[in-house]
């Protein structure tokens, strides 16, 4: 009922049209990326001016131009040659006859060209560790700021906020020098330890903790509840929504982190996914198919996580808002 009413509003038709045009513009690079990741070099490296989105393997025949048909024919020819060659004993095969293109070849190429499985494991390990530990540390600090009175409290709080205003780049070099003195360059420590404290997270959680009733704290302390018990039995369970929101932010930021790992590691076995991707990009040069496949592989886990977490995310925002 409501929907039909809305469509009748002519202004909304204009709004939808504009938003859809914008939306296509936002998404099309990703569509193009995924489509290209399933194309062979003969499809990609064509100087034809025609825009062909769908890869050969899924395009229905009636959409094919003469050029497309010729190319598909050449591929089929290659396939026949290849199969004929395979019938011969291994020693007699002509090495010049290459295997024809399969739709998943770009992914196989990218996956083998660099140890991407290793990059994924490294990234997962670093991201999960940093997210979990930094949330724990931040919640402890936020708890102290929200519930305790202690000497130099305001000063400590202002100093902490001050660190948020410093540009990252100014920290890059001194931290690099310091870590190299510690002998931490090319270790997981370098990737993890400096990021275990986040002033932003402390600030964010403190704002939430401030809304929890103070009387609860007083009452619990009188009943013999220690401060730490109050923290993990009452405060933590109550703060699931802001923790989820922060967790998502932290996960995204760490998964996508690039400059820091680029500088503090150069060992392949420690490489994280973003650095691996940049190395692969300078190595693969103009092999656009495998490059698009590698990009798709790095983007996909995040997009999937984003969609899965969306509900949680929206809910968490809703509950945080309701607290007033």
């Amino acid at each position: 009922m409501q929907n039909t009413l809305k469509v009748k509003n002519p202004a909304h038709v204009v709004i939808h049209t504009l938003l859809i045009i914008g939306g296509i513009f936002m998404l099309f690079p990703f569509v193009w990326m995924i489509a290209t990741s399933f194309k062979g070099d003969d499809e990609i490296l064509t100087t034809s001016k025609k825009i062909v989105l769908l890869p050969d393997v899924v395009r229905p025949d009636f959409l094919n131009s003469q050029e497309d048909r010729d190319r598909i024919e050449r591929r089929a020819e290659r396939q026949r040659l290849w199969e004929k060659e395979q019938e011969k004993p291994a020693a007699e095969r002509d090495r010049k006859v290459r295997a024809p293109f399969n739709w998943y070849d770009n992914y196989v190429y990218a996956w083998k060209a660099q140890p991407f499985y290793r990059f994924f494991l490294n990234t997962l390990f670093v991201t999960i560790t940093v997210t979990a530990v930094s949330l724990f540390f931040a919640s402890l600090a936020a708890y102290a700021f929200a519930f305790f009175n202690f000497p130099f409290k305001d000063l400590a709080f202002m100093l902490m906020l001050g660190t948020m205003m410093l540009p990252q780049q100014a920290l890059l070099i001194p931290n690099y020098i310091f870590l190299s003195k510690l002998g931490w360059i090319n270790t997981y420590f370098a990737l993890i330890v400096p990021w275990l404290a986040s002033a932003y997270s402390v600030f964010f959680l403190r704002q939430f903790f401030m809304q929890l009733p103070k009387d609860l704290f007083e009452a619990a302390t009188i009943d013999g509840c220690t401060r730490f018990q109050f923290y993990y039995k009452i405060v933590l369970p109550l703060s699931k929504p802001p923790m989820v929101t922060l967790g998502i932010f932290s996960f995204l930021a760490n998964w996508n982190s690039f400059v820091w790992p680029l500088i503090v590691t150069n060992d392949t076995s420690l490489r994280v996914i973003q650095v691996g991707l940049s190395y692969f990009s300078s190595e693969a040069g103009t092999r656009w198919g495998p490059l698009m496949a590698a990009s798709t592989m790095t983007i996909l886990p995040l997009v999937i996580m984003y969609f899965l977490a969306q509900k949680q995310f929206v809910e968490s925002q809703a509950t945080t808002g309701m607290k007033e």
Partner: protein
Amino acid sequence: MANKRNKDWSAYLYLMPVIVILVIFHVLPIFYSLAVSFYEWDLIGSPEFVGASNYLRLADDPMFYKSLWNTVYYALISVPLSILFAMLIAMLLNNPISAIGLYRTVYFIPVITSINAVAIVWNFIYHPDFGLLNKILDIFSINPQTWLQDPFWAMPCIIFMSVWKGLGYNVIIFLAGLQNIPKHLYEAARIDGANRWQQFRHITWPLLSPTTFFVFTISTIGSFQVFSQVYMMTPRGGPLKSTMVIVYYLYRKAFEQFEFGYALAIAFVLFMIIFACTLFNKLYLEKKVHYT
């Protein structure tokens, strides 16, 4: 009671992990880098005190001025463009239309994806021979360009891609700002016969100005720190160094040429520029912000 608790140092047990890490990795490095910027140091040999000569050299370095200008160019175009489009989209989304959640998700996707992966995708889109952009232009009979290899176009290409990438974030912030504007103001304005432009000019624009100020400040700071997309899309500073930005120059000096003292002098000047911009925003622009 309050006095007793005021002597309570044990709270620092809870603060310790955060404070220790912040001090070691975020506070001390600032002082350390200021100190090292007065030395000449390749990290291997022993540092040699050179006084202000890194800064004097910087004042005479044409590549520094070029990188500074390129960064300002990037900021001057990308910040207003991003604000304009984000505000527009946010105002479209701030209507009682269906599928709002879907639109929000779609516009936010470039934000969550990594800058490296999308830089690779845009490299391909901008490719002179096989890229999508030239194919699209061909439909309108516009001559193909070499885009990222062209000294004139390289920076606009990077700006365009960066605006696309960061738009969704600003949209969400503007949307939150718009939703704080009381609806009855618009109703009153309509009754008084105000048209859409007048409503925007006299209600939306002034009441949204705290949000605009926030987005402007954050975007300006961010645009002075642009690095990853430049590194990924135009290696070695682009054609005729047309995309050499400050942070890339700093990175190059430190981690490719190992002139750490000089690189830190650059970092400090960058810090001062960002600080001055933020201060200018705060002192001058914020006077025009309408806080309710």
